[in-house]
């Protein structure tokens, strides 16, 4: 436990908790686009910015990447914080003017948002899918493309490794903009343009998971695939 102050409230922060988590526990609204409680923090969207008193001086910091420590003082509602978040929102809106989640966020942060000409579901490089794939699923099918000094000047993109993907769909589930699409057609699942054969439950006959995902679960748990062929509802 660490005694700290957020917006004048003295609280006992849990060991290892971030400022973002503690602020949200106090029902303080902290906007985020790249944060997920089950994933490592990434600090990409720069919307969760707060002010932290460091050596007597208030400094901006990404609350998702700042551990709550004893004696820390935090402010979440100053002009500085609002301006900083608004700029991040404005820049995201400048880049992705037709993506609903970005438009809504920008508008909420005080950016003058115009009517959209069309609706597009852009990748905003939040890294939720790449982190989910690596940290939760453990297959590394998704990585950022074009990293390092020799990178392409074009926008960095997501690189998909079809051979590694098991079609679990976690990336589509976690994607905030709808950029990652998953479709189901005739016993097949299509995700990132890779087509997966779905397995039908041997009790109810419903398609319930990609065969490759069941094979992956079998490989990692040692349970034979034959024993995984029953869907959750029929088990």
């Amino acid at each position: 436990m660490a005694k700290m102050i957020i917006n004048g409230h003295e609280i006992q922060a849990k060991a290892g908790a971030t400022v973002l988590e503690e602020a949200r526990n106090l029902k303080i609204d902290i906007p985020t686009l790249c944060y997920h409680k089950d994933l490592s923090s990434f600090g990409a969207c720069r919307l969760c910015t707060v002010e932290i008193k460091v050596n007597g001086k208030w400094q901006l910091a990404a609350s998702c990447q700042t551990e709550a420590v004893e004696g820390m003082e935090v402010r979440t509602d100053t002009d500085n914080v609002r301006e900083s978040r608004k700029l991040a929102g404005a820049l995201l809106y400048f880049r992705y003017p037709q993506t609903a989640v970005v438009r809504d966020m920008a508008a909420k942060l005080g950016v003058d948002v115009q009517a959209a000409a069309a609706d597009s579901q852009d990748c905003i490089l939040c890294g939720l899918c790449t982190r989910t794939c690596h940290e939760i699923v453990g297959v590394n099918a998704l990585k950022f493309k074009d990293r390092g000094l020799a990178r392409d000047i074009e926008e960095p993109k997501i690189e998909f490794t079809p051979a590694a993907c098991i079609g679990c769909g976690s990336c589509a589930y976690v994607c905030p903009t709808g950029f990652v699409r998953m479709e189901a057609v005739d016993g097949k699942r299509i995700i990132w343009d890779k087509v997966f054969k779905m397995a039908a439950c041997n009790v109810c006959g419903r398609y319930f998971a990609p065969v490759e995902q069941l094979e992956f679960i079998s490989r990692t748990t040692g349970v034979p695939v034959s024993r995984l062929m029953t869907c959750v509802s029929c088990r």
Binding site: C45, A62, T66, L91, R147, G148
Partner: protein, 642 residues
């Protein structure tokens, strides 16, 4: 450069534009107020991470700013939402300005974006470099920007030069793109990371273990929550690859010329790799039955397992580099080599001969008074050691420490290092000293040997004198001065002298002996181009610099390859821009960096260590490496000039 019209370097504003009647009357800026790295090169205007310098008042600051933003865009990783999009937005506004749509409001928007990016970027490129100098440009050259808008002046496409560095890159003797390869690890791209490392360091697994890592001392996080474990990250990239087993690139073309490399140490191997990659036929003549130079016969197994080194040498050999073992070159003669079909020779014979300690009794040849370099080489080549009760090692460098830690593993009971200065002046690396103490090596500081005492032709003791420290000498370290009357004897059965090494210059014959040798007993060669007074003969590594680090030697090999290539292709060899005289650590405001502790690796149990030569230091797992890599602040510094 003597005068500037304007400078905001390091935030110190010098504005000579209004003084006098314009150009030509400008005053010289204060020391440190402009980037000295470009001294001697003429430029009209320069924009760097920490300011704007305008020499010629007629220079086009708008064009310079756009060129800077173009280069900054390449360095912005796009990982956070403000830096890359901020650069694009500012470019958009500036391009709008230059097509005639301008207003003061645009300048205000630029200022807001720049300030926002400086305080809210995820990494230190955004905070320090990406847009910082643009703020000075729009502030102090506002009229130029507004003018560009009014007249719709087309921004001229001019050739700008640019250079990139970072505090860690500048500290690295081989200027590795450290933030780049760390970024690739952070993104779980170990293979790509290793490829990037190999562009300048062809022995990544070796250097990832045995480097003295000056980069880590320069790391911006050093004084916050500790430097990045840069060396271990490089090792992680190399170790991950051991499982995958990559191959080095195949030369795109074959050139007709063959090149001889003398010595298969880090310098020779690096030169061989880069020359082979350019399509040259390469033969390495190695005097010993093993390749690797000091990495093979100097650095002990417990610091560098030899399968790591051999794997990396094998990769180079598989590119078609011919390594001839037990092939000592007796005479360095360009004509002889030419007759054998070699268009050029790169001499990288290292510095394997120990220097005398300068005490009585060391001139008598015996098995119990040996040179550190000979001792280590003997062990590496399978010579059996005869452990005795007491051994005294003279010297304070890594060779002394390597000898001492080896002795403990060989079964010597009392191992003592005698050094003439104190611990802080010891040139050996801090980790080595700590591990040696940890393992049980005894250290006696401020003590110098005077004479070796023998009984019945066997060493029984060493006479020493106590020292005190005086004023700093030319090496910058405090000079040790003997204290009269403080002589004492130290019982020992063996003395290992590890006070320095020099190259064996036996291969210089005839008049070359004089023209090719320096006063320090090394080969005379240009430290940049590696060329020597003899035509077609190049030299680099320890035999030119004197005993230095692996990475320094390796970098000389990198340079030599470029230089030999330029020579054979009839081109002029141009070295990279040096940031030597610029403080690249300087930046306007660091802001707040959330603390994150560096990951730790496991060290071999003390009980296991002294049983043999197993590697002591463990490496990062892939996940631990990714986590550590996330601590990197990416302190890229950019400079664009014309």
């Amino acid at each position: 450069m003597n005068t500037v019209a304007f400078s905001s370097w390091n935030g110190k504003i010098i504005d000579n534009r209004t003084s006098g009647k314009g150009a030509g009357k400008a005053k010289k800026p204060a020391e440190g107020a402009f980037p000295a790295a470009l001294d001697g090169q003429s430029y009209d205007a320069l924009m760097g991470w920490n300011g704007l310098v305008v020499v010629d008042p007629k220079a086009d600051v708008v064009a310079l700013t756009l060129a800077y933003l173009g280069e900054a865009r390449k360095l912005s990783c796009g990982e956070c939402s403000v830096c890359m999009i901020g650069i694009d937005r500012v470019r958009d506004i500036l391009q709008g300005l230059s097509s005639g749509k301008s207003s003061s409001k645009d300048i205000t928007e630029i200022e807001d974006i720049v300030k926002g990016v400086m305080v809210n970027s995820k990494c230190n490129f955004g905070r320090a470099s990406a847009l910082t100098p643009v703020l000075d440009a729009v502030k102090y050259f506002k009229a130029s920007f507004l003018e560009a808008g009014k007249v719709g002046k087309k921004v001229e496409e001019k050739a700008f030069q640019s250079a990139v560095t970072a505090p860690c890159m500048k500290a690295c003797p081989a200027t590795l793109d450290i933030p780049g390869y760390i970024e690739l690890i952070r993104n779980n791209k170990f293979k790509e990371s290793l490829d990037l490392v190999r562009e300048r360091c062809i022995l990544p697994g070796v250097i990832g273990r045995a480097c003295t890592h000056p980069c880590e001392s320069a790391c911006v996080r050093k004084d916050m929550d500790g430097s990045l474990a840069i060396r271990l990250l490089k090792r992680a990239a190399a170790d991950q690859d051991l499982q995958g087993g990559s191959a080095l690139p195949i030369p795109k073309e074959e050139k007709k010329e063959k090149i001889a490399v003398i010595g298969a140490g880090p310098a020779g191997l690096a030169a061989a790799y880069h020359l082979r990659l350019r399509g040259y036929g390469v033969t390495i003549f190695e005097a010993l039955p093993k390749a690797g130079g000091m990495a093979a016969v100097g650095i002990p197994d417990y610091r560098l397992p030899k399968d790591i080194l051999n794997h990396e040498i094998d990769l180079i050999k598989r590119m078609g580099v011919d390594v001839r073992y037990n092939s000592k070159v007796e005479a360095l003669n360009a004509a002889d080599f030419q007759q054998q079909g070699y268009a050029a020779v790169f001499t990288a014979i290292g510095a394997h001969v120990g220097t005398k300690i300068g005490c009585k009794g060391e001139e008598i040849a015996s098995d119990d008074v040996v040179q550190g370099a000979d001792f280590l080489r003997g062990l590496s080549l399978g010579k059996k050691a005869n452990p005795v009760d007491r051994v005294v090692i003279i010297g304070g460098g890594n060779v002394a420490l390597d000898c001492a830690r080896n002795c403990l593993r060989l079964g010597f009971k009392n191992v003592e290092i005698v050094y003439r200065r104190s611990r802080v002046e010891m040139p050996g690396s801090r980790e080595e000293i700590e591990e040696a103490i940890h393992e049980g090596v005894k250290f006696t500081y401020l003590t110098a040997p005077v004479g070796i005492i023998r009984k019945a032709a066997k060493v029984t003791a060493i006479e020493c004198v106590k020292m005190k420290l005086g004023e700093p000498d030319e090496s910058g370290r405090k000079r040790p001065i003997p204290i009269k009357g403080s002589e004492f004897t130290l019982k020992t059965n063996m003395v290992i002298a590890a006070t320095g090494q020099k190259p064996d210059l036996g291969l210089l014959t005839g008049k070359d002996k004089g023209t090719m040798t320096t006063a320090w007993g090394t080969i005379k060669a240009d430290p940049v181009s590696c060329s020597t007074p003899a035509t077609r003969i190049f030299a680099g590594g320890d035999c030119v610099s004197g005993p230095a680090t692996l990475i320094e030697a390796l970098n000389m090999g990198n340079k030599a390859a470029k230089s030999i290539d330029a020579y054979l292709q009839g081109k002029t060899f141009v070295d990279e821009l040096s940031f030597e005289d610029i403080d690249v650590g300087q930046q306007r405001d660091m802001g707040f960096v959330p603390p994150a502790k560096s990951g730790e690796v496991k060290f071999l149990d003390m009980a296991e260590r002294l049983k043999g030569f197993a590697e002591v230091e463990g490496g990062f797992s892939a996940d631990a490496a990714i986590k550590e890599a996330q601590r990197c602040l990416r302190c890229y510094r950019l400079m664009v000039w014309q």
